[in-house]
């Protein structure tokens, strides 16, 4: 018996468990890609002359280069530039979650113990998890490619496009294999891999932003940081133009190397424990913990810190880029004018960055408020409500933390952007004031969002997680970042709270929309409270 005995049996078990989850990820991503491809195909077959100038906009604009790498005027390439970063992040998350689910999580929940007591080798679970994740990425590559072929794109480019996304999933399969050995908890393993994903995004974005543009302003050559990131490798395949396949080899090398490291680590640790030992803690609670709000703060402060660091980096980098925006000429200026809603180019740029950050912070608010549901479903709510804590106070604890966290994150971003932006274009003090105002004016939209999640959790607890994330995706796609350029009708755009946020600092802050959003959030919160007070709790058996 060697260390891999039983691997194929565990692969079958993992496939049985993931038979809905993984196909849903793959089909969801492919459906999104096919739909956007078809839309751009339709748009540019009606107005073929627009393709070149539109491509120039995204090439000349460092802010747009963050999203991806452009190689020549081409509908497929143009679509991929829009979708690639989102899809790459999703592919990485699909892979990380799958690997952690079958390794670290199985250990944490005690399932691994039952498996390992059978005729199963020490490395079999790890190998099975990696095989399943790699198979899912292979499927993803093919289905994404088919999606683009169906939407009318050339076959070779489409398949390269699918592979360029799945490549990121392959690399992060290896990353998760290692983080599952390092951290001793599921949350830790996902968190460390997620931090790695953040770094990969940042490196790819930096590489493209600092890259050079050719004389026709249709092709970008990335700077070196892009080559340190699996997301950068995928983009270097340049689907629909060069269709280079060799960057795929980098991902295969990476996953092989990381898998080998993980196998070595498995041989050096105990089942159920990570390489990083579990520390002892305090024998008693500090006064700060002794309230529902203090408890929630304690449970999510690590996540908040991670978000704060991410937004700090985002703010510093994009603030520093302000002078590049100020020097922009030509077609790129029109994009900011549409997105940021003003011809004051710098103001529009900052407004658009604020809106992107607000959408990111809305994701943080959603993860936090979904803990309301997890408390209930996992039973940690029962001991709390068994004490002298009312349901309303429990909800209030989350509301306070969500609001405080959102304010903190937006302020971190505004200050970081103000400092480097002020260095780049001057006038730090007034810029800081403008940006802080622009950051805070995003809060009513987030409050609407948070209150909606609360209503969903109270009304449809069993479906709340999926439904809340669907609402997040919906609000972002019909919001100001994607909605107008996707050519969606106004009534649909109006459904996203982000659409109604004033374009500060480009435009003055008008009180109407702010009050309207505030009122909407108050009504939704009231509905959530009424529902909470009336219903049975759905506690585990």
């Amino acid at each position: 018996m060697n260390g891999f005995t039983g691997t194929m049996r565990l692969v079958r078990l993992a496939l049985r468990r993931d038979r809905i989850t993984l196909p849903a990820w793959v089909l969801g991503m492919a459906g999104f890609l096919a739909a956007t491809t078809a839309m751009f195909q339709d748009q540019y077959s009606k107005h073929p002359l627009l393709l070149e100038p539109d491509t120039r906009i995204v090439v000349e604009n460092p802010g747009m280069r963050v999203l991806g790498l452009v190689t020549g005027p081409d509908v497929g390439g143009y679509t991929l530039h829009r979708d690639a970063l989102v899809l790459a992040v999703l592919a990485a998350m699909m892979s990380v979650l799958a690997v952690v689910r079958h390794t670290r999580q199985a250990e944490e929940l005690g399932r691994q113990e039952m498996l390992a007591a059978g005729v199963v080798g020490r490395h079999a679970s790890l190998a099975a998890a990696v095989i399943v994740a790699l198979a899912a990425n292979l499927l993803l590559a093919v289905v994404l490619g088919l999606g683009m072929v169906v939407a009318g794109q050339p076959v070779a480019g489409s398949l390269a496009a699918g592979a360029s996304i799945a490549l990121v999933g392959v690399a992060f399969t290896g990353v998760a294999a290692v983080t599952s050995q390092l951290a001793s908890t599921t949350r830790g393993a996902i968190g460390v891999a997620g931090a790695g994903l953040g770094v990969a995004c940042l490196l790819a974005a930096l590489g493209n932003m600092l890259g050079t543009v050719d004389s026709a302003a249709l092709r970008v050559t990335s700077a070196w940081p892009a080559w340190l990131s699996p997301i950068g490798w995928g983009q270097q395949m340049r689907p629909f133009a060069d269709n280079l396949w060799w960057p795929l080899g980098l991902a295969v090398l990476a996953v092989a190397l990381l898998f080998w490291v993980a196998v070595v680590l498995v041989g050096r640790r105990d089942v159920g424990r990570g390489m990083w030992p579990e520390r002892r803690g305090s024998p008693g609670a500090s006064p700060a913990l002794l309230s529902p709000a203090g408890l929630v703060w304690r449970l999510q402060r690590g996540a908040l810190l991670g978000w704060a660091i991410g937004l700090l980096g985002f703010g510093l980098v994009f603030g520093a880029l302000s002078d590049q925006i100020a020097g922009l000429k030509g077609e790129a200026t029109e994009w900011y004018a549409t997105f940021g809603g003003d011809t004051d180019l710098l103001g529009a740029y900052w407004a658009s960055m604020m809106q992107i950050a607000a959408m990111a912070v809305a994701i943080y608010v959603t993860t936090l408020l979904l803990r309301l549901h997890h408390d209930e479903a996992q039973g940690t709510l029962e001991p709390v409500l068994g004490t002298a804590v009312s349901r309303l106070r429990w909800l209030g604890a989350y509301a306070v933390n969500a609001l405080g966290g959102a304010v903190l994150l937006m302020l971190v971003l505004a200050v970081a952007m103000g400092i480097t932006g002020g260095q780049a274009v001057g006038g730090t003090a007034s810029l800081l004031r403008d940006l802080v105002g622009a950051a805070l004016v995003q809060l009513p939209a987030m409050a609407v969002f948070g209150a909606t999640v609360v209503v969903v959790v109270m009304l449809l607890p069993r479906w709340s997680v999926g439904l809340s994330w669907a609402l997040v995706v919906f609000a972002i796609f019909v919001g100001p970042m994607f909605g107008p350029s996707l050519g969606l009708p106004t009534w649909l755009l109006d459904l996203s709270p982000f659409t109604h946020v004033p374009n500060a600092p480009a435009a003055a802050i008008s009180p109407g929309p702010v009050l309207g959003l505030g009122l909407a959030s108050a009504l939704l919160a009231g509905a959530g409270i009424l529902l909470l007070r009336r219903r049975n709790l759905r506690l585990p058996a």
Partner: protein, 311 residues
């Protein structure tokens, strides 16, 4: 002073098809330890969750410490402590932190009592919850509950993961609370524990109180077992009224007798010239099996429905 718990005609449905509690009656007097027994899925946990205001009663009257558990949840919870059956706590907090937190949210705990209980239950408060075994997680919940001096303790199968030493500590603590005049509702499967601690018991089956009373009262309702040797053959025993489950071999017989027939049976036995005889009152276990036994004959579908009902 009112009774600690008064439940009459309590109905709780989950959806249209599953009735978890079906006109349940339960009374816990102030100052008594009340055993709450029943097979899995009978509705014990559902009852306790209604008492905590976590679930809403569909019909019937429920009074807890003189108040309405749904409307006055918070004020009532200051006066009670609860140990859930399945102890789900926050994996990244330490045991000590959880004890302090739950005690404080209830309105405060006695630090000396906390130290004493940690000592007696041999619990290390510096470990993270995720590092504890099931028994140790249960100890965290027990220490958190017993560190607060409250009028009523609701304990839902609190010792299912404890070792015999810790079980003894638990029984000792409960005895102390009883002598201090506290009321306790103890749901349990451990019959020796219930027998040792409880003044009265209620046996619940399929959402209804099947029997309630002191042990003596319950025993009067139940058959006595008899083992007897006689000089003359015992063959006729099987036909006597009130005799059940008889096994006879010449002058030796083992059987059980209905409560009202014991005297008549004794008179007949005397005629057969008794040489030796052992009679024993029904054990709690036999009492129990009478109710559990009926469950075994319940159709499987209905039993499934009961399991669903506790979710």
């Amino acid at each position: 002073m009112t009774t600690a718990i008064t439940i009459s005609g309590l109905v709780k449905d989950f959806g249209r098809r599953t009735r978890a509690l079906d006109h349940l009656d339960l009374d816990v007097e102030t100052g008594e330890v009340h055993g709450f027994l029943g097979p899995n899925g009978a509705g014990k946990t559902t009852t306790i969750r209604v008492l905590l205001g976590l679930l809403r009663a569909d019909a019937g009257n429920v009074a807890l410490l003189g108040g309405d558990p749904w409307h006055d949840a918070v004020t009532l919870h200051r006066r009670l402590a609860y140990v859930p059956g399945e102890v789900n706590l926050w994996p990244n907090l330490t045991g000590g932190e959880v004890i302090d937190l739950l005690g404080d949210l209830r309105g405060g705990l006695d630090p000396d009592r906390r130290e004493e209980l940690l000592e007696r239950f041999q619990l290390d408060p510096t470990k993270k919850i995720r590092a504890y075994s099931k028994g140790n997680r249960q100890k965290v919940a027990l220490v958190a509950a017993f560190s607060s001096d409250v009028e009523l303790y609701l304990l839902d199968e609190p010792t299912s993961g404890l070792d015999p030493l810790m079980e003894a500590v638990f029984q000792d603590v409960v005895q102390q609370l009883r002598s201090a005049g506290r009321s306790i509702l103890l749901s349990s499967h451990i019959l020796s524990e219930v027998e040792a601690l409880c003044d009265r018991v209620t046996i619940i089956r399929a959402g209804r109180a099947a029997e309630t009373g002191t042990f003596d009262e319950l025993r009067h309702l139940t058959r006595t077992s008899v083992v007897v040797d006689t000089a003359r053959p015992l063959a006729s025993v099987t036909r006597w009224p009130g005799v059940h489950d008889a096994r006879v071999h010449d002058g030796h017989a083992e059987f059980s007798v209905d409560p009202g027939e014991l005297n008549n049976v004794l008179e007949r036995l005397v005629d057969l010239d008794v040489r030796s005889m052992i009679t024993s009152p029904p054990t709690l276990e036999e009492l129990f099996m009478r109710h559990y036994g009926e469950d075994i004959t319940t159709p499987a579908r209905e039993a499934d429905a009961e399991v669903v009902a506790t979710r």
